[in-house]
Point group: C2
Chain length 282, copies 2
C-alpha cells in the first residue's frame, strides 16, 4: 500500500495534506485529505475522526469550509476526509448525469447490483481499507470516531451501527436518517442494492439503531430551516427509533439553520469536543 | 440605491447574506457578501470590517474558507466582502483570458486607460460607493476597518493610506506590498494606468506609506513558505519603508505557511481582534 502525497498546507500549527492511493476495495485510484494537528509531530499516536461528506462533495469541502482545524489542533485530533464515491475511468456514473446517484453519491454502502457492485463498495473502503492505510502510514492510534453530513451523516451512522466496537464516538449533521423511506435513499438503494426492500434494512440507520447491541451515544445537529428536512432527512424517525429502545441520542434542532457548511461550521466545535471526550477516555 | 438579497444563511447566531446591486461607479451589476453578527439584531449600529480578496476570487472565498464568522460573532463585527473586479456583459476582460488581469483582478485602483477606465474603478467602489450602500441599508456605524489578502492586501493598504481618516484599523495577509516593482503589479499598472511609472506611485503601498500623514498601525501576516513571497509580494520592502519613517508596522513571518486560505484561517482571529480593538475605541 503506497500513499502519494499530493499537497501539504500548514494549518493551525499542523498540516492539511491530500493523498492519492490505489484502492483494492473500490478498484480505482482514490484521493483523501488529512488534517494532522501539531501533536502529530511529537511522537504520540493520536485518535482519528473520520468525516463523511454529502452528495456531490469530494475530500475538499469539509477541509476548506467547516473550520474544524482550529479545534482539532487544540484537542489533538487527526481528521480524515475521504471522497464520496469511487472515481475515475471505468467507474460508471449515473447514465443521465444525476448528482444524487453514482459519482459523488456512493452512499457508503456495498453495492450488490450490476454495474455498480465492482466499484461501489464505499462501506468497506471507509470502515476497513482506509483506516488500515491511515494506521499504517500516519501517527494515529486505533481510536476512531466517525461523523458526517447529509448522505455522510447516514454513512457515519450506518458504518458505526453495523460495526460495533470499531468506533468509540459517533455524531452527524443533518443525516439522511431513514434512507429506505425517502426519495434520495429509495433511488440509491433500489439501484445499488436492487428492488428487494428487505435487503435495504441492513443500510438504514433507523433499523440498525433499533437492533444495536453497542449503544454509542450519538450527537445529531439538524437545521430547522433545512429545505431537505421533511422530505429527505427525517431525523424524527431516528428519534422515535432511539426512544423505542432507549438508545442515547441527542438530537438538537437548530432554529434558522439550513443545509450548508455555514450550519456545519457553526456547530463543528461541539461535535469535535463530543468526539474528543470519548476518544480520549482511558 | 436598491439592494437585492440573493441568499441568506444562518451562521454562528448571525447571518451570512449575499446581495446584488447596480454600481454607478463601475457601471455594472455587482454582488457582495455580508456577515451580520447576532448583535445586528439588537439595534446597535456595529463597526464594519471590509475584506478585499485576491486574484481570481469573488465575494465567496473569504466567507466560505476563512472561518471568520465565529470571532466576528463574538466581537460584534460586521464583515463585508466585495467582488475583486467589475463583472458582466460589456465589462472587458484580459484579451487572452489571463487570471492576473481584468476580470477577478481589478487591483483596487481607478483605471485611467482605455478600454478599462469606464468600469475598472474598484478603489472608488470599495472606498465610497459600497460603504455608502452598506451604511444606508444595514445596521452599521461609520467605524470602518479594512483588510485583505494578496492583491486584496495591496488594496487594503492602498485604500487606507490614500484616504486618511476613512478607516480606523488596517491589516493585510501576504499583501502585494510594492506592486510597481513586481510582475503582477507591473502588468496591471501598465495597462490600467499606462506606461508612465510616475502615475503608479499613487497606488503603491510602499510609496504611500513613506508619505503617510495618518499613522494607522498595520498588522501584516506573511507565510514564509508562500511561493509568491520573493517575486511578487515583497513585504520586506514595506518593512524598510515603514522603518524609514517610523511607521507602526507589525510584520509577522509565519514559518511553513503558504499563500492559501489554510494560512488565512490560521491567523484571521488575530486580525479580527486587532481590528476590533481599534474599532471599539471610544
Amino acid at each position: 500500500m503506497t500513499l502519494e502525497l499530493l499537497s501539504s498546507n500548514r494549518s493551525f500549527g499542523g498540516w492539511h495534506r491530500r493523498y492519492r492511493h490505489r484502492s483494492s476495495t473500490l478498484d480505482c485510484d482514490m484521493q483523501f485529505a488529512v488534517y494532522l494537528p501539531p501533536q502529530a509531530e511529537q511522537g504520540e499516536r493520536l485518535p482519528v475522526l473520520y468525516w463523511l461528506s454529502g452528495l456531490t462533495c469530494t475530500d475538499e469541502n469539509f477541509m476548506q469550509k467547516a473550520g474544524a482545524q482550529r479545534v482539532a489542533a487544540e484537542l489533538g485530533l487527526v481528521l480524515v476526509a475521504p471522497d464520496t464515491s469511487p472515481r475515475g475511468e471505468g467507474v460508471p456514473g449515473d447514465p443521465e448525469g444525476a448528482w444524487d446517484f453514482g459519482l459523488g453519491a456512493g452512499f457508503y454502502l456495498n453495492a450488490s447490483e450490476q454495474p455498480w457492485a465492482r466499484h461501489y463498495r464505499m462501506h468497506d473502503y471507509v470502515v476497513h481499507e482506509l483506516p488500515a492505510l491511515i494506521e499504517a502510514h500516519l501517527p494515529v492510534s486505533e481510536r476512531r470516531g466517525i461523523s458526517g453530513h447529509s448522505m455522510g451523516g447516514h454513512g457515519a451512522l450506518v458504518c458505526a451501527l453495523r460495526n460495533p466496537g470499531r468506533y468509540r464516538s459517533l455524531s452527524a449533521f443533518a443525516p439522511i436518517s431513514n434512507p429506505q423511506d425517502c426519495p434520495w435513499g429509495e433511488k440509491a438503494f433500489s439501484r445499488y442494492l436492487g428492488e428487494d426492500r428487505a435487503t435495504w434494512q441492513a443500510w438504514d440507520a433507523c433499523t440498525l439503531l433499533a437492533g444495536a447491541t453497542q449503544k454509542l451515544p450519538i450527537l445529531v445537529d439538524q437545521g430547522e430551516a433545512d429545505s431537505f428536512l421533511e422530505t429527505q432527512l427525517k431525523p424524527l424517525a431516528l428519534k422515535v427509533a432511539a426512544e423505542a429502545v432507549g438508545y442515547p441520542l441527542t438530537l438538537r434542532l437548530q432554529p434558522g439553520y439550513d443545509h450548508s457548511y455555514y450550519f456545519i461550521a457553526s456547530f463543528i466545535e461541539d461535535h469535535l469536543r463530543h468526539h474528543a471526550a470519548a476518544l480520549r477516555q482511558p
